[in-house]
């Protein structure tokens, strides 16, 4: 070997050594802020040893390759593929330690390319966002490249699951990439998302808020519904992503993975009969019902702290993944309103995109009345739920638990919106409106003709008659709007047998007439 032959290998050695040192420096800088470096995060997210980094020697837009500038290599973002639970995924992770993670053209072109790769492979895309924003010095180059990322997020939408984890700042236009993904996770206190930062907000509106109040994890998970989960620390966020992925197929051409949970499919649970009160006014926690029916510990809730009057999430039924939608009587009596309508519609459409059967539990007194809702556009928002359910061609099973009144009954995956099978519990009350309200209208004259001290007695008698004649589940069953009346305790085996049959059906794509696309209310 002469001098000139061994030199190329030494150069690569030197570059690799510099990169290793760079990541040690990056870890230290991030640690000072209570965060992990991009590499450390990927190590937690991905199966050990599975990560293949790509394009790690890309230089920023105006720079030429220089082996001494290890910090600049990669232009502040790590991109590549790896596995989660043995299944391939494509990832990108912004590196805040280089120029504040600012998004230069090279950085963004790597991001765009990663999404394209994920689309082509048909595997989930996971993005870890931690960036100060577009790189001002690269101006229109940055902005244009950012547009390229958004476009690919949209191309990927509904083909592969896209998950965004906000692990630092994510501000300005950059928030639109996570916004276009399916699920956004945030890390409490060390991450925030907003379009306009506190300084500009103060200058323009005089409002005095800090980043946490404006767009911290708490706000985004509880108020705006932009994020689904707030994690305490980087590690918790990444482990939550791994867990979510275990419910999802790799792409829309596959079924979700079935896992043996060991929970017998024919388990009868007598407690369920007791948990659901026959007294329609009494609240209960529908999550308790869900946990008992579905495989033990399999319920993975989405947007837990947003619009709590509706509950959505994934669970398993003898190992099969299902998407659950339920009204939550414990919060606001389970009424439907703007936020819960949005939450339900989005979740239903996600499940439909990814072959996840839908099981809907109905117990709602209707839509929340009042000007706040009407002026806020409950009409538009409520319409989304009807659209989403009607459009969905995955298996749809509905269980009418108790109240199912009026438009809310229709919207919650009723027969004509394409529910494949509808069950009702003996406590189900399906009607245009509740007994008391209905009676006041139908029997107005009779009530007014009765002396006041006897009215309450009369109303109670009429309400019982109303239930007997009109609002009990047998009326609906008699006309096949309900396929069967079952006891809560036998829900699990009933749903399982139903689901098995429906899963054998050939996958249907859109039932709609051929058109460019529908016009869903937004």
């Amino acid at each position: 070997m002469n001098e000139r032959n061994i030199d190329p290998y030494r150069k690569l050695e030197r570059i690799r050594k510099r990169l290793k040192e760079k990541w040690i420096r990056a870890s230290e800088r991030q640690r000072a802020k209570g965060k992990l470096s991009a590499m450390e995060r990927l190590e937690i997210l991905l199966d050990p040893g599975s990560f293949v980094p790509l394009q790690s020697l890309v230089m920023p837009m105006y720079a030429e390759f220089n082996e001494e500038q290890a910090d600049a290599m990669g232009d502040g973002i790590v991109v590549g593929y790896g596995t989660v639970g043995g299944r391939p995924v494509v990832v990108f992770a912004e590196d805040f330690s280089y120029k504040g993670g600012s998004m230069g053209r090279s950085h963004l072109e790597k991001m765009e390319w990663a999404i394209k790769l994920a689309i082509e492979f048909g595997v989930p895309l996971i993005g870890l966002y931690d960036s100060g924003g577009a790189r001002i010095q690269e101006g229109v180059h940055s902005l244009t490249a950012l547009g390229g990322v958004f476009f690919q997020n949209v191309m990927a939408s509904g083909w592969i699951p896209q998950i965004a984890v906000i692990m630092g700042p994510c501000a300005g236009g950059a928030v639109y990439s996570p916004a276009l993904t399916d699920f956004v996770f945030m890390v409490d206190k060390t991450s925030y998302m907003f379009i306009t930062g506190p300084k500009v907000v103060k200058a323009v509106t005089g409002e005095d808020v800090d980043s946490e109040q404006l767009g911290g994890a708490s706000v985004q998970t509880r108020k705006s519904g932009v994020a689904t989960l707030m994690a305490k620390g980087d590690k918790e966020a990444l482990l939550a992503v791994r867990k979510l992925l275990s419910y999802l197929p790799s792409n829309a051409g596959e079924d979700p993975p079935r896992v043996n949970t060991g929970d017998p499919w024919d388990r009868i649970d007598g407690e369920l009969n007791r948990i659901i009160p026959a007294d329609q006014r009494k609240p209960y926690d529908v999550k308790e019902v869900i946990r008992r029916i579905f495989d033990k510990d399999s319920f993975y809730e989405i947007q837990q702290f947003f619009a709590q009057n509706a509950v959505v999430g994934f669970a398993r039924l003898n190992g099969y993944v299902v998407g659950i939608v339920a009204n939550q009587p414990k919060f606001l009596g389970g009424v439907l309103d703007i936020d819960s309508s949005d939450k339900i519609a989005r979740f239903v459409r996600f499940c439909d995109a990814f072959n996840i059967p839908l099981i809907t539990f109905v117990d709602t007194p209707g839509y929340m009345p009042g000007t706040a809702q009407e002026h806020g556009g409950i009409i538009r928002h409520g319409a989304k739920v009807i659209y989403a359910y009607s459009e969905a061609t995955v298996p749809k099973i509905t269980v009418i638990v108790r109240k199912a009144y009026g438009g809310a009954y229709i919207a919650m995956c009723s027969r004509k919106l394409g529910a494949d099978v509808v069950y009702a519990y003996p406590t189900a009350e399906i009607a245009v409106m509740g007994p008391e309200g209905a009676i006041e209208i139908i029997y107005k004259k009779e009530i007014e003709a009765t002396p006041p001290e006897e009215r309450e007695e009369l109303i109670r008698k009429l309400a019982d008659e109303y239930r007997e004649k009109w609002s009990n589940p047998y009326v609906a069953a008699a006309s096949a709007y309900v396929d069967g009346v079952i006891e809560p305790k036998e829900t699990r085996p009933t749903l399982y047998k139903t689901l098995c049959t429906l899963l054998k059906r050939k996958k249907r794509f859109s039932k709609m007439p051929t058109k460019r696309h529908g016009n869903m209310p937004v």
Partner: protein, 74 residues
Amino acid sequence: MLAMGEEVTSPLSGKVLRINVKPGDTVNDSTSLLVLESMKMEIDIYPSSSGKVKEILVKEGDNVEVGQVLAVLE
């Protein structure tokens, strides 16, 4: 976010059915402070943070409006 004296407001119109706490009680975000009746449902009202009940501004039987302050925590 400073939570000095959280004002717990009513999320909808209704009637106060039952008051579950009194001034001095320690509560958190899963304590039902009071129960409203609306749309023929009993609706629990929870605070969004933990604290001690400073005062209850309504009594059983009162009609309340959306946004009306029902209780104050400290």
